[in-house]
């Protein structure tokens, strides 16, 4: 490797962007060439010196698209409220939520859950039996009732899934049968077409053969008429 070739590889070596095999070639040359070794070391030092120069922040804060203010920000601009207003609203909402939570009622009636929320406690009502089963509409839901309902729901869900699967299977079977029938009908139609085509070719060929035969016969008769019967030699 010449010094010029080595110089061509120095930049790759300096920045770690060498192709396969180049590093070995350059190392081999540098081990025997003082001048190139010193040059590479000098360039490396210059590179390190340059890195002293750090980037500066231009503080341009360029903005090409105007940021859309959020609706909340827009509302705040229209109706400026003191900071304590937000805190007050938050506290009031939390208090209402707590009151509602304390007066939450969950009941089961007519096969459905009933959820009642009120800010004030509801007056006690007299229970009136409305169902033929053992459930009491105005009593709270027990774990046993919940388990029974879940079981029933699971069973209904299974029935729905099975019915759906059966319908799908029927649909697929019907579709496949129809498809097979259509394919067979098409096949028969194609065979008939081919048959007719072959028949037509045969008829045409026969006709042409007969015409050719006639022409030849006419030619032979004409020749005999003009030139007589050939002599037997």
């Amino acid at each position: 490797m010449t010094c010029d070739d080595a110089k061509a590889l120095m930049m790759g070596a300096l920045y770690g962007e060498m192709e396969e095999g180049e590093e070995e070639q350059l190392t081999s040359h540098l081990s025997s060439c003082q001048a190139c070794s010193e040059e590479l070391a000098g360039l490396r030092q210059t590179s390190r010196l340059l890195r002293v120069w750090k980037d500066v922040d231009p503080e341009l804060h360029l903005r090409f698209i105007e940021e859309r203010p959020s609706r909340l920000a827009a509302l705040k601009r229209l109706m400026p409220l003191p900071r304590w207003a937000g805190v007050s609203v938050g506290l009031a909402a939390a208090a209402l939520f707590l009151m509602a939570l304390l007066n939450l009622e969950v009941s089961y009636r007519d096969g459905a859950f009933d959820l009642r929320v009120s800010l004030l406690p509801r007056p006690q009502t007299i229970a009136t039996p409305a169902l033929e089963d053992t459930l009491d509409a105005n009593r709270y839901v027990t774990p046993e009732m919940l388990a029974r309902v879940q079981e029933e729901n699971f069973r209904l869900m299974q029935q729905l899934i099975e019915a759906s699967e059966a319908r799908q299977m029927e649909f697929v079977t019907t579709s496949l049968s129809q498809f097979a029938a259509e394919v067979e009908a098409q096949r028969q139609r194609d065979l008939r077409l081919v048959d007719r085509g072959l028949e037509a070719v045969q008829i045409t060929t026969e006709r042409q053969f007969l015409e050719t035969h006639q022409i030849l016969g006419d030619l032979i008769r004409l020749a005999r008429t003009n030139y007589g019967e050939p002599e037997n030699r």
């Binding site: 210059t46 010196l49 360029l62």
Partner: protein, 197 residues
């Protein structure tokens, strides 16, 4: 979010994705231009122009993977045009005249010894490096800046400058060698700097 994702969003109609792209790139592009043209106010102006061009032409950029080298290409073209414009209407400074007369821009504190120690502060060294960079040919300067300061790969530089890879490496070699000579002429080396590099 990557540049490609921001570009896709921008093309999909989310114009605010462009702001994010600009905020991500304004510092490196500004510093690239600053090192290229050497003037801070000019660099701000050119930086804005660069992003205006990006905004106009980004929908037509075919390969979003090439965004980085394309952005540098736009910036380098603007810098080149600016320098050509300056050459048509030259402006002289007293400093430049003094340097042309051969006066060393580096002030040496002579303490009387054979090897005077010069303690350069970082800001002084940056100023010297800026001047040294302006001494080397423009086509070498842009490669040195892109490689040394912007951290682009040689292949990316070749793409940005639309030049062969070997040409780029050659310009880098000669640029760095020229800088080395300039700095050695000003006696700026590792020993002249008070702090560790």
């Amino acid at each position: 979010m990557t540049d490609q994702e921001l570009i896709d969003q921008f093309r999909g109609g989310n114009l605010h994705a462009f702001n994010t792209l600009v905020w991500r790139w304004e510092k490196p592009i500004y510093n690239f231009i600053l090192r290229y043209v050497g003037d801070a106010e000019e660099a701000k102006d050119l930086c804005q122009k660069a992003f205006v061009q990006v905004y106009r032409h980004l929908p037509r950029l075919r390969d979003a993977d090439r965004f980085k080298s394309w952005l540098y290409q736009i910036s380098a073209n603007l810098c080149r045009d600016e320098i050509k414009r300056r050459q048509r209407t030259p402006v002289y400074s007293l400093e430049a005249l003094q340097e042309a007369k051969g006066q060393n821009p580096v002030e040496v504190e002579d303490d009387g010894s054979d090897h005077p120690e010069r303690h350069l502060r970082r800001v002084e060294l940056e100023d010297l490096l800026k001047r040294a960079l302006q001494q080397i040919p423009e086509e070498q300067r842009v490669v040195v800046i892109m490689k040394e300061f912007q951290g682009l790969k040689f292949t990316e530089i070749a793409e940005a400058l639309d030049a062969p890879l070997n040409t780029v490496k050659s310009r880098m070699y000669y640029g760095l060698s020229a800088l080395r000579k300039v700095l050695e002429g000003w006696h700026i080396d590792q020993e002249a700097i008070a702090y560790d590099l």
